[in-house]
Amino acid sequence: MKRPLRSALSWAVLSPLILTTLLPFAVMISTALKPHEEVLAYPPTWFPRRIAWENFAEMWTSVGFGQAAYNSVLIAVASTLLALLIAVPAAYAMSRLDMRGKAAYRQFLLITQMLSPILLVLGLFRMAASIPFADGTLADTRTGVIIVYATYHLAFAIWMLASYFTTIPGELEEAAWIDGATRAQAVTRVFLPLALPAIAVTGIVTFVASWNEFTVALTLLRDPSRLTLPLKVVNLVAGRYSVEWNQVMAATLLATLPVAIVFTLLQRYLVTGLTLGAVK
């Protein structure tokens, strides 16, 4: 088949899915830029007559976007760092060291994935509420959410990192040992610099997962000043009679765009990592 024909055919086959995928983005952008009176006009149009930048300013104060974004960033960064701090040594052991019970450990990681947060919400809430922290308990604290997120990221992070680590030739470290380096020196000077890209990709994936998480945050967080972005946006809609849809869409757009861009740029690396992990 000639390339122009093949291209036309490929796009034709993909077009229903592509249009459906793009629809929510079009709706989001179109409504986020509409002035209030146009949102509730019939029939609705795709293009606003006037671009209503004020939606973003109004949404910023009505949502408390700044505080929510701070909470989201804090929770996502801290849970990612904590997960990496624990996952990198474990993945190193999995990919480099002889140990008995490696298969059992692998099984254990898989089982932790099946005990998904939604199944344990009651248990997680009761546990957090029973652990004293600051002047209350771990329930309704960002620290509690950080710890739960980090734990749930572990299996994925260890799996992903270990499959990358096995692709780094062990001979490089062995060469360092011959030159008199200890294991610790070989790890920090030879292994870690080579592993850095893999650690970065894994970190970004766990960051995005934390950034987008809903169930655990919904369960553990109550105080409006501690809510993350997804909770704030959902609260603008859930159980309300009048919803300011242009502000809701402005908030959704602002919360989604940065992450969507980063994710799109990194997609290629993600594909490699996932498939490496899949066939192992």
Partner: protein, 293 residues
Amino acid sequence: MSPAGNHRWAALPWLLIAPSLIMAIGVIGYPFYEIIRLAVSDVSRFGQIRGFNGWDNFARVASDPIFVDALVRTLVWTITVVGGTILLSIPVALVLREDFWGRGLARTIIMLPWSIALSMAAIVWLWAFNADYGMINATLRQWGILAAPLQWMARPETAFPVEVGIGIIVSIPFTVTILLGGLSSIPGDLYEAARIDGARPWQSFLYMTLPMLGPFLNIAIVLNIIHVFNSFSIIWVMTQGGPDNRTHILVTYLYELSFYLGRPGPAAVVSLVVLAIVFSATAAYMWLRERDA
């Protein structure tokens, strides 16, 4: 081969994995223990355990019509979402493997839903399906398909299929990624050889592509089943299991039991039921894989 100095550290690997073990046992294992304890206890609506009551909660859940309904709907939800995802992802992955103009762009667009929080995607779709001002009704009426606005999310007969459709769209990126990985492991000269031997395209698909894609399809199916079974955000944000409890799946019902209806004991039982189903589905898959290997 071992480095200078510390050869005698047989405990090293265990030291390295110990933090992850401790954390998983503490944060996943302990709540799991709590769930089991709640399931066999008489629990007040404020979570006070008043004593052991054996299978009482189980019996109460089994005779709860909303639970039975949600159980059936969970199976329908899982089968339709996973089935739809796989059926759509295979052709999409096959097309994306071809070399055509704008392939990078097509791939980026199809992967987009992956980067959005499910809760936020659900909000945007909720607005798109809004009866009075949503773009879907407006477009359908403009095209003459609908005469009057349809109250999509106010009726379970339309709300649930909409949620299934969204479930499929957000599951496609991950599935296509796995399948593309599988397709790239099939050497291209194999197709060349088949063509020279006179195989038609559908023959090479049926006898080469599908069998070699097998393990990847398996992984995609199992991971999707685990994920879709536990998928909470879409339904919770769009309909909260309503109207009239008729879009509940087990996980949304268990959340409602836990935090809205104040029935922690039965909620814990529902958790265990979901877990048992997910475990047996995964075990069955493992067994199938062992047998085929």
